[in-house]
């Protein structure tokens, strides 16, 4: 599948025009992970946003150790550190062989936001919706 066709199906990019999607696609890099590989480590500075394109990752808290959610195709990882500039809130590791992602460096995304505020507004709004959905999932999981 063409990268733009995939990005169009990712909620993070909902509402972007074709021209805006082109700009996002230009800063994406594909990265392949093997089962057990770490995408982000809890407590370390986050520098990249990951979009799962194939496979699954698990979001894992270190203390006490527990998996809080599995994220599959179309889901994003690293958005909290992008929003609050804090350290990564969890460890994320690949649990399927292979797990494929598209990766965007924060600095490139922030530069894009500065160049085009419309893209910045839409993506930040969509990140808020994604965080809301994840919170709803967690609330439903703990019923």
């Amino acid at each position: 599948m063409d990268l733009k066709d995939f990005l169009r199906k990712v909620e993070l990019f909902d509402g972007l025009t074709e021209a805006e999607l082109e700009k996002v696609a230009a800063i994406c890099q594909q990265r392949r992970f093997h089962r057990g590989d770490i995408l982000t480590k809890q407590g370390t500075p986050g520098e990249e946003l990951f979009i799962v394109t194939k496979g699954f990752v698990e979001v894992f808290l270190e203390a006490p150790q527990r998996v809080v959610v599995n994220l599959g195709a179309g889901q994003i990882v690293g958005e909290m550190a992008l929003v609050d500039q804090g350290l990564s809130s969890a460890t994320v590791r690949a649990v399927e062989e292979p797990t494929l992602t598209q990766v965007i460096r924060f600095e490139q995304l922030e530069r894009l936001f500065q160049q085009d505020a419309s893209i910045g507004f839409k993506i930040i709004r969509n990140i808020a919706a994604d965080l809301s959905f994840k919170l709803r999932h967690r609330n439903l999981s703990e019923r």
Binding site: K9, E11, A73
Partner: protein, 78 residues
């Protein structure tokens, strides 16, 4: 084309569930794979109004029993 963002919550075992995008609405009886296990959907609810091309669903599911074959792969029980 619509996309369906689904929150899967597992009952009947200690499992964190998952979130996945589908190209179709989830349905009762559907079998889904979340990382290393397969589950059957028991209930489907819309949890947020659709926005843009996205629909938001919550599905409750339970594990489908599997046997481990001699080569180490999961085999669904008949």
């Amino acid at each position: 084309m619509a996309s369906y963002k689904v929150s899967y919550v597992v009952i009947g075992m200690d499992h964190p569930g998952g979130i996945v995008n589908l190209d179709h609405k989830p349905f009762v009886g559907e079998q889904v794979r979340l990382s290393d296990l397969t589950f059957e959907v028991l209930e489907v609810l819309e949890i947020m109004p659709a926005r843009g091309g996205f629909h938001y669903y919550h599905a409750t599911c339970h594990p489908i029993p599997t046997d481990i074959s001699s080569d180490g792969t999961d085999q669904k029980s008949s």
